[in-house]
Amino acid sequence: MSQPFRTEKGGRINRTEQLTFTFDGEELQGHQGDTLASALLANGVHLVGRSFKYHRPRGIVTSGSEEPNALVGIYRHGDQTPNLRATQVELYQGLEAISQNRFPSLGFDVGAVNDLLSPLFPAGFYYKTFMWPKAFWDRVYEPVIRAAAGLGKPPKTPDQDTYGNIYAHCDVLIAGSGPAGLAAALAASETGAKVILCDEQSEFGGSLLSEVSASIDGKDPSEWIAETINKLEQMDNVTLLPRTTAFGYFAHNYLALAERVTEHLPNPDPKLPRERLWQVRAKEVVIASGAIERPMIFPENDRPGIMLAEAGRTYLNRYGVKVGHKVLVAAACDTAWQTAFDLADHGVEVAGIVDLRETPPENLMAIAKARGIRVEAGCMVTGTLGRKRVKAALLGRMMTSGNVASGGQISCDALLMSGGWTPTVSLYSQSRGKVVWDSDKGAYIPGASVQRERSAGASKGLYGLQEVLEDGYAAGEEAAKAAIGKSAKVSYATATGGEAGTGGTLGALPHDRNASRVKAFVDYQNDVTAKDVKLAVREGMQSIEHIKRYTTTGMATDQGRLSNMNALQIASDSLDRPVTDVGLTTFRLPYTPTTFGLFAGVARGDYFDPVRKTPSHDWVVENGGVFEDVGQWKRTWYFPKNGEDMHAAVARECKTVRESVGLFDASTLGKIEVVGPDAAEFLERLYTNPWKKLAPGRCRYGLLLNDAGFITDDGVIGRLAEDRFHVTTTTGGAPSVFATMEDYLQTEWPELDVWITSTTEQYAVAALQGPKARDVLAPFMEGVDLSADALPHMSVKEATFCGVPCRLFRISFTGELGFEINVSRRHGKMMWETLAKEIEKFGGTAYGTESMHVLRAEKGYIIVGQDTDGTVTPQDAGMSWAIGKKKADFVGKRGLDRPDLVADNRKQFVGLLTKDPKVKLEEGAQITTAENPAIGTPADGHVTSSYFSPALDRSIALAIVKNGHALEGKTLYVPMPDGSIPVEVTGPVFYDKEGARLNV
């Protein structure tokens, strides 16, 4: 028979729409409007998973997002998403679900042997064992533990879905759409305030969706919900977000919501994101997150078929599902009785109501009696039978002695329990509010507001429908008033029925069983029992934080929403201290587990980080260039021709530059225009070098330190006019140099009349380097005399290139005659293509960063960040010449005088030549004085740059070596795994030491 546990009528499911789905391969039927859980229950399936540690058979316990047991994998696109709650998964045609943490099958799981061995596995057992033999931990114990642990299987293939993001601002954000949230939304929206109402469920209404015995304004709750939603939908100022969980409450009323956009659809349009992250800045927040029911802690309280009473009621009234044919209700409070009554009204046999209380309320007794329901007062469940589904409950009765006496046994196929209610204070706590203990309610409720929020309804411990509604309206009004200063009159709906219940219990129930033989579960998923909590306390764990971490209670995927209060009470009893003294663990985000993809959002592939390209990019791609990532930039690394490897390409490129001409894209270098009457004074204070006497039209190499005295950046600076400099920086250093300049300008020297503007992207820069550079350039230039006299090395002129304005620098980072042409970015492509074509005539080549590195290393020019590492001073780098000797101060000057910076034995910048010219050192290799240093010998330095030099036809290297400047001519060693490499210390300049090639 299909869906044997479906009621005849009622519920919010669409009975005319039949859906087929599978669970562990078995085909089953459900209806539109079902969750996977309700559909499974309709088919009589309670056993849905295995527990974490003992692999005990487990069934559905709740009907909401707090579900600890019914975690399943859902297949889509050939892969599965693990650990989804069956209670939240909306049913669609063709849904494929699998159970988890069992092998080979749910019904027969070998892991269940753990249950038999459980006496060996109390809380924290692993801290006490697996220590011998030592080597077994990595090889045996840990792999076994790891394989046994974990719930579902992780996805195996990259996620095909996309995730969206939206930033939103609103006046009032309402989290939760039960009667409190709906009333708040009505009241707040009426003022014109911008309202966002979200609820994690597929439909708005919260607990009202399963309420059939109360009425609001004389209407069925479902009718009132429909009218309310209809009203809210009409309003422009209201955003309704179903399937949206408020999962994080951050500082400054910043909240994060996860909207599930397509998960519930059988064939979603791939253009839609699977989920969307809402990052909302709300002026005011109303937390209307309701309350959840608490399980009771009795032995074997974890069998499939044992559920929360309210969940039983929800399955019945909302989903049209009977959780059993013969249902026992065990409670310590009133609300569970209503479940029994509703079940009875649907013709379900109620095996009895077992109430812990000696004298349950008269009116309930009367109703039960009228329906012929057996009531056992002053009675509790002391155990259950049935492995894969509960078969019967053992009853106990509290004696005046304080002991429990057996009260017989009742058979049933479902057992509904209720230990009372726990307000959902997660979001309030995340907002950094401190909950307070309400002893009347036996619950923690929100205390004072720390941020601009208020709780309403059951989330603050109000339970009567009428008072919840009133509270909701008031909260909405108050929030709107606080946000926009306006209030509006809304008429409050009035409810009849739905009165607040009384009663409740916390902690483990007493029983007459052998305590050491039975398990009463506190945290279902993590298999934490009452015994475990007590053991932790016995072992000295006195803080609830220690108890949590030692037993892992509250650390499962429901984050203790079902278990925390009971664990706390058990700890409190064991410690003999009031609950309030034991403390409470911290509520953290996310409210429910939240998809990584949601956080990552659009940041993937090319959009993981901006890809910054220079104007030569397309040309480089067409010409087979290879790129490297430098920060966010793509720079050309080298240009292999005819199957060359990097080594061959670089050798050819270098050789060509030295013999003829090379073209290099220098656009990524940072460029800053420093303008104003005090421009020179500013640079004087910032850079080590003197600037005031630099004539317009000339350039100088600038060295920048931090105030500690270490080199942070360098670059050529050209003076364009008295009051205007063109500063260049390293590619990676551009933003930080700019920020440093602004910092000194704005906060140290605001009196200076000078401003800086980033022009990095205003210009495209082509470097032409090599003896033929002038010949290549000349045909395109106008307005400038390129001769050595008119435009000597280290000068700058404004001119035109192919008719477009340019800044022409005569500078060189290769040691050859060189020009850097800056044209506006738009003309960069034209410039590059023009020059690339022209150099062909001279047998020239385009070259990349690798050749640039080799060429400059042959000349001993440093690269900040490669040859320096933040610990190198100008003196260390052999650049004392760059320090303006007469300057009273510059950034870093004072730092340079500190004891260690003037001490002997500093590491200094030198060249190294291997004795064997064919041997190229490895960059980063260490340098020692001893040929075969013992392990632990401190190094004297390291190789910072190392290349094969085509110009010298041998290897060269640059290094930082202790007292290096004094060691020229000496032999040092580079110890490598297969022996030491002897090297001779030299000056850092290997090629054209006199610089003759520059000045042509």
Binding site: G676, W755, I756, R825
Partner: protein, 191 residues
Amino acid sequence: MSDLMASDLITPDAGEPPLLSINEVSILKAAPLTRLSLRLREASLKAAGSAFGVDLPVLPLSSATADKRAALWMGPDEWTLFAPENTSQSVVSDIEGKLGAEPHSLVDVSERSEAIIVSGQRAAWLLNTGIFVDFSIDTFPVGTVSRTIFHKSPVMVWRIGDEAFVVEAWVSFMDYVSGLLVQSASELSAA
């Protein structure tokens, strides 16, 4: 305020196909224009404004426009000046001529950034997929201009109409900005 207040300066680039064109929103590349970064002290405000042809706005995040001119407040001593393409030299000489020795800095940044025009009923929504700024018309009225962050890229947003925005980014970031906007808009055409 007119709907497209700066329409004579910010125009779609006729040579470029639309990056996106659906009912709810369109994204068009804007034609090139002259952009200057002007920095000066309060004393020189008036002179600079009259030389440029529009008073420099002093209200934070505001802009001022005149025929073929726009001045955008970027900071307390910083303005971006917009003028038609290829007029940079004349604008510069007008301003430099007027300011003379008064301390200031005028730098041509015409090519540093590119602009796109994002307009349509869902334009603000689309920007909010990557920008945390309240674009409701009361808090970000037409004429408001602001630098901000779009996902991982710095941008500048200038509202030129109720449902029209100019979004500028440094050139090397524009592929990222426009690409992501187009991608995020794709759900608008989902079934």
